[in-house]
């Protein structure tokens, strides 16, 4: 055993010292990632597509009948589907819009360096770090119709005269879920915009002040244009995340009431894992992926054409 073992270690040492060409070395370094990615992402993705062309049931996944694009056609002609897409866009645009405006405002507030700004900067991180599910649970509890803090507070302040079932009216439920999402995600915008603000050139502001620009003019004419790259990045990341929202819907409303918060990810989940329609679920999830893929393309384009350096 001993000589054999020595030979093996010799061999490994020689391999380590071996002067490889760059391409071979790169291949070795990348290979594990490529294999994992193929197995965990690309193969399942392709498989989802294949499944979406078949009729099959999660209870019997081996039995599959080819149906072509029938599932897609089913959904594309389905009113419920389009309403769900509409709600998903509503959630995405409203929550990302609010987060962006609020996030920039908070970042500006931090950069004003009032007393305690460091504390504020640190505090802002906390909602972002709280797990999504916990965030949903907190707000669901606050909105609770019978014992919730929101009802208690509003009643004690005399703003309402009896408890309100906040999550019962579909449209209001959606807006309240958005509010919970804003609490969790606006800090992300603050973090990125703050970092971008720090690196803005001070000289420009001095020059603008000398030229007599007031605070608002400095903000709209200098700060915002300079923040453009960071804003674009935040916008695309948050849009993608919001479009595939699932966790907070699951914990807060499960798509209800009366489909008021039914978004595309939740619909897919329901179709696949409650009704066990593998084929339809796959078709839906492939439609989601297509949307996200378009957004991702946009993202890559933004990243690589803006020549962003913050």
């Amino acid at each position: 055993m001993a000589p054999n073992g020595r030979r093996l270690s010799d061999y490994i040492r020689r391999l380590g010292n071996l002067e490889m060409n760059e391409g071979a070395f790169a291949l070795i370094l990348i290979l594990p990632s490529v294999i994992l990615t193929l197995g965990l992402i690309l193969w399942p993705l392709a498989n989802t597509f294949v499944m979406s062309l078949h009729e099959s049931n999660l209870a019997r996944p081996q039995r599959q009948d080819f149906v072509g694009f029938q599932h897609y056609i089913h959904f594309l002609g389905n009113r419920m589907f389009w309403e769900t897409i509409g709600r998903t866009f509503y959630f995405t645009f409203v929550s990302v819009g609010i987060e962006l405006v609020l996030g920039i405002a908070i970042a500006m507030l931090i950069s004003a360096k009032l007393k305690g700004w460091r504390f504020l900067r640190t505090a802002v991180i906390i909602p972002w770090a709280v797990p999504t599910i916990v965030n949903g649970a907190i707000w669901r509890w606050i909105y609770n119709a019978d014992y919730g803090a929101l009802n208690g507070l509003l009643l004690q302040l005399g703003l309402i005269d009896k408890y309100i079932a906040w999550l019962v009216e579909p449209h209001r439920a959606m807006n309240l879920v958005i509010l919970a999402d804003v609490w969790h995600s606006a800090p992300f915008v603050v973090l990125i915009i703050s970092a971008a603000l720090v690196s803005l050139p001070v000289e420009l502001y001095d020059a603008a002040s000398i030229d007599g620009a007031n605070g608002w003019q400095r903000f709209t004419r200098i700060t915002l244009p300079l923040l453009r790259p960071a804003i674009l990045v935040v916008l695309v990341i948050r849009t993608v995340e919001a479009f595939r929202v699932f966790d907070i819907i699951y914990i807060m409303t499960r798509g209800g009431p009366v489909n008021g918060t039914m978004v595309i990810s939740y619909l897919t989940y329901q179709e696949t894992f409650s009704y066990l329609h593998l084929g339809r679920g796959s078709a839906l999830s492939f439609i989601v992926s297509a949307f996200i893929f378009l957004l991702a393309l946009l993202y890559v384009k933004v990243l690589y054409t803006e020549d962003v350096a913050v």
Partner: protein
């Protein structure tokens, strides 16, 4: 109005905003904590007791030191904590190692398809879990891996790995090339230069990325919800969702679980605050 007065009013307004903001940040968290130290009966009082008349740590004891009388859900929460720690920790370690190697190649070596491969990884990060979950479910079930931590670790790599590659590439790019060149002139092999020079220098980047990957894994809910149904592998987010039972919600237990689930990521985020901001911007901005 003089400029001075205007300035004073403006600053007063800003302080007011700051106060409101801090209130909005901390009030929900405070309420979560207060709910966790309230008894079930007190939580159901109308109007709410903003501070419990009889604060109790019983909910925490139920989870951290369960006895025979504790509810099953509370008892299972402890397993969930263990599962979450093991899964998130392992995923972080594996994706850091595997991902950094690839990131190094992307940042430093010239090879064919370098740019397009990197772009592919960047866009893969965007894919929603739902678009890969069904085949993964079928395969894992076939392999008898449902309800195992192994399955979660494997599947979580699908989102931490592209993330690590993405962020570490920009970190490696920010390290001056001369460092490696010097090491190579001194007779280091490529692997040697990577191991002895680049890795030590990029420790801040590795730490930031690692913390980030950990947070991502700790937060994950969707895969865990679908792939686990017993205490053997259920993670914390799933356990918290389960306090919302079919018939009633155990609010105080859910609040306690929420506090325990939030503590590790919040502490990590506060400790590594600076790194996280750096990592976010490096990854998000430079790609």
């Amino acid at each position: 109005m003089s400029d001075k007065a205007k300035n004073f009013i403006w600053r007063a307004f800003l302080y007011f905003c700051m106060l409101i903001l801090l209130l909005l940040i901390f009030a929900p968290l405070a309420w979560l904590f207060i709910s966790s130290i309230s008894t079930r009966a007190e939580l159901l009082s109308v109007p709410p007791h903003w501070w419990p008349h009889e604060p109790t740590l019983q909910n925490y004891l139920d989870i951290l030191a369960p006895t025979e009388t504790t509810s099953r859900t509370a008892r299972n929460f402890r397993y969930a904590l263990t599962n979450s720690i093991i899964v998130s920790g392992t995923v972080t370690l594996v994706s850091l190692i595997v991902g950094s190697l690839a990131a190094y190649a992307f940042a430093r070596l010239r090879f064919r398809f370098r740019r397009s491969a990197l772009l592919a990884f960047v866009s893969l990060r965007m894919l929603p879990a739902i678009s890969i979950v069904i085949p993964l479910y079928v395969v894992l079930r076939g392999a008898g891996l449902l309800n195992t931590r192994t399955a979660l670790i494997l599947v979580y790599l699908s989102f931490t790995l592209p993330f690590v590659i993405w962020i570490m590439t920009s970190f490696f790019q920010s390290i001056p090339m001369e460092l490696e060149d010097a090491a190579r002139v001194d007779g280091c092999s490529r692997l040697g230069a990577l191991w002895r020079v680049i890795i030590p220098v990029s420790r801040p980047g590795l730490v930031a990325t690692g913390v980030f990957a950990f947070l991502l894994a700790w937060d994950e809910f969707f895969f865990a919800l679908l792939f686990t149904s017993t205490p053997d592998a259920k993670t914390v987010p799933v356990a918290i969702a389960e306090f919302t039972g079919r018939h009633a919600i155990d609010f105080s237990a859910q609040a306690t679980g929420g506090v325990l689930a939030a503590i590790p990521p919040v502490i990590l985020a506060l400790i590594f605050q600076r790194y996280i901001v750096q990592g976010l911007t490096a990854g998000a901005i430079k790609g």
